[in-house]
């Protein structure tokens, strides 16, 4: 006989939380039967705030929507506003934007590999990957002036140029990174700890992925070959050859391998862009007053398809600005993946979609058969998963 579900509210301020979120699970013994998400704890009203600021102020506001995919947001913002203005940016600016976007993808995916290793208890791999990630962070600081929130894009082009000495340093850094990322992919494929915790876990069949409108590596790990860079090219992606990576196993291991291969592709894209960097200016002047119009912009952020929509009314401030982050599109899929799995698999499956808000805060458990209710913190859930697999 089913017991009624209970909502146990808890505040977003808690020492255990990285980024707040709430899932309500219904469990039967070790199996998850149902899950209800509740998000919005980090909702800051950016869309409303964007209506009160000029376009150039909005560029920096929108950039701060996320720390890890900040460049994707500014690329999309400039794509939308430049389309309404009707300006084309110089070729050199397109290539520089591409280089920074791909450096950000490497940084984001290597961050994820480390976090996924942390979720399954493999802290050694976590530390090694994050040590090698420092190479990318230092390169980004060299090129743009900051390790996160690069602010390299502006309306009409880019703000800083890449001098030849910087280009050499980037290539040297990429050589080291390529060796390391190849090694970490090998670990992903051969290390028993990783395989046991990620192979055949968190299955999302292709028809479910399409029906629930999943995006990004989650979709590509189910064999669907959709990538905004190839399907709807923007900046310099129509001039640079690269491969869209898919794997067919539909589990967390496929998502790990998709991201490792995407890092390899990003390194190749950056090398090609640096070798073929066209000359010329890096930006054009744009007016402050934007004519009336509307536009839709799409960009492949590290986590998936990012979409922005803007409507302008002829003044210096937008009428409406909408942004939809890729993680929102993946939440229905993650709920589907969790049902039918073990409680011990919850951390890695939630981390598998690379959520832009940390998944593992508190979970309220309701045991359907025993009528027991208890709450665990993220730390406790992670430890439970590690112990459960060690006993197996």
């Amino acid at each position: 006989m089913p017991y009624p579900t209970i909502r146990i509210p808890f505040g977003p301020q808690h020492p255990a939380l990285k980024e707040p979120e709430y899932f309500m699970f219904e469990v039967e013994g070790e199996y998850v039967v149902d899950v209800k998400p509740r998000i919005g704890y980090a909702h800051r009203g950016i869309e409303k705030a964007a209506e009160n600021r000029t376009f150039i102020q909005d560029l920096y506001l929108i950039e701060h929507a996320c720390g890890i995919c900040s460049d994707a947001h500014t690329t999309c913002f400039t794509q939308v506003i430049e389309e309404i203005l009707g300006v084309g940016i110089p070729a050199r600016a397109k290539f520089i934007r591409t280089i920074i976007a791909e450096l950000e993808r490497i940084h984001s995916h290597s961050l994820w590999v480390g976090l996924a290793a942390h979720e399954i208890g493999f802290d050694t791999l976590f530390m090694y990957v994050w040590r090698d990630r420092e190479i990318v962070m230092d390169l980004l600081e060299l090129v743009s002036g900051n390790r996160v929130h690069y602010a390299i894009n502006t309306l009409g082009g880019v703000r800083r140029d890449i001098a030849p000495e910087k280009s050499e340093k980037i290539k040297k850094g990429l050589d080291v990174l390529q060796e390391r990322m190849k090694y970490y992919k090998e670990i992903g494929e051969t290390e028993q700890t990783v395989l046991k915790r990620t192979a055949k876990i968190g299955i999302l069949r292709p028809e479910d992925a399409l029906a629930l409108c999943a995006v990004g590596p989650t979709l590509r790990a189910s064999g669907i070959k959709h990538d905004v860079r190839a399907d709807d090219p923007y900046i310099a992606y129509d001039e640079i050859p690269f491969e869209v990576v898919t794997y067919d196993e539909c589990d967390v291991l496929s998502r790990l391998l998709v991201r490792c291969d995407e890092m390899r592709e990003s390194i190749n894209i950056i090398r090609y862009a640096l070798d073929h960097l066209p000359g010329g200016e890096i930006s054009v002047k744009v007016p402050r007053r934007v004519p009336e119009g509307e536009a839709v912009g799409r960009v492949e952020a590290p986590r998936g398809e990012l979409i922005h929509y803007a409507r302008t009314n002829g003044t210096t401030k937008p009428e409406r600005y909408m942004l939809r982050c890729p993680t929102l599109g993946n939440i229905p899929s993650v709920c589907k993946m969790l049902v039918g799995g073990y409680i011990a698999d919850i951390p890695i499956v939630l981390a598998g979609i690379d959520p832009c808000f940390a998944c593992m805060d508190r979970m309220a458990f309701v045991d359907v058969n025993k009528d027991k209710r208890w709450i665990w913190s993220g730390e406790e859930l992670r430890k439970y998963g590690i112990n459960w697999y060690q006993k197996e």
Binding site: I56, Q57, Y60, E141, N146, H149, T154, R159
Partner: protein
């Protein structure tokens, strides 16, 4: 046990963690730290004040009499003020150690020096 070789190689190496504040890593050239105003060059055009995304720049007076208060706790170090200044009066330094226990230290004044004629 795929990581065993890697781990054995690292046994005799020292850790990569820098013991900040005793060991500091030098920021890259062009790193965006705290902005400073050169009041000799400033003409008080208000462009930095208008374009600041977070309202960190406070102007007192206008034109050639303009003076500034820069709020470090609101600044996002985006560099827009440096980019838009027509006389290159603003420069982003590499100063990033800005934390303090006192709110009053978060406001930096940039005043004009007046030449006293005798």
């Amino acid at each position: 046990m795929a990581m065993v070789k890697e781990l054995l190689r690292h046994i005799f190496r020292k850790p990569v963690t820098l013991k900040y504040p005793f060991e500091k890593s030098k920021p890259a050239e062009g790193m965006r730290g705290r902005p400073i105003w050169d009041m000799e060059r400033c003409v008080g055009c208000e462009l930095c004040f208008r374009d600041c995304p977070s309202g960190a720049i406070e102007m007192i007076g206008r034109g050639s009499e303009a003076e500034f208060k820069h709020h470090l706790d609101r600044c996002i170090f985006c560099g827009r003020c440096e980019e838009v200044c027509p006389t290159n009066a603003i420069k982003m330094t590499e100063d990033y150690e800005l934390a303090s226990y006192d709110r009053a230290e978060m406001i930096i004044d940039f005043k004009r020096t007046r030449n006293e004629s005798i």
